[in-house]
Symmetry: none
């Protein structure tokens, strides 16, 4: 037998066997199986599982977040759409028809500052 069974893997990784199955169902791991269907966890998988634990704790994020990040990493369309959305910023419309948006400049100013300024509470000094 070349690898750990699910209960052994659980002990060395800190996950419960239930969670190991759950993590697999979430698509985050895919341990190989014996001909009869028993999962076998190699050292690489074990390491990945420990790393995953550290990841979730360090960044305080959820399994579903990592699952989505995986999707994000492997689906170029999804990534492109998201990137586009994040870049999209509230700007004045190219062809402003009627003069409805008179004081837009100020809004834009506020928006841009709010957007990529790290948590700052003081009033920014305009150059």
């Amino acid at each position: 037998m070349e690898g750990l069974t699910i209960n052994e893997a659980a002990e060395t990784t800190g996950w419960s066997p239930r969670m190991l199955r759950y993590i697999e169902s979430a698509g985050l791991i895919e341990p190989p199986r014996t001909p009869k269907g028993y999962r076998i966890f190699g050292p690489g998988e074990l390491q990945r599982l420990r790393t995953l634990r550290e990841l979730l704790a360090r960044f305080d994020c959820a399994l579903s977040d990592v699952a989505f990040a995986k999707r994000h990493a492997s689906d170029p369309e999804l990534r492109a759409a998201l990137d586009r959305w994040f870049e999209e910023r509230p700007e004045p419309p190219e062809g402003v028809e009627s003069g409805d948006w008179l004081s837009w400049e100020q809004q834009k100013h506020q928006r841009l500052l709010a957007m990529d300024t790290p948590p700052r509470l003081t009033e920014p000094t305009p150059a």
Copy 2:
């Protein structure tokens, strides 16, 4: 008034006013405010909101996913950690017999991570 109020924005974007506030609380938009605190939605924000709707529908993902993607996009450490995790290969010990599967090129993988001490390993003492 140079922009739409929350109810007007709701009508043109398809979101409910409640959801517009929720989306803001999730950090996905940050509409500017009047001096008295009323949100004002410019055309850019409205467009973003419609795009967001399309995004969620097209890729069948959740607001929290997009929120996490934003974090992922703006936190290099998080991105690096996730990228490293996805690159980590499980590589089951294929050619190894029952003897020494514990010793193989694991160290290379371990080097990639800032190490913590994983939960101590104890041999499964049959209780």
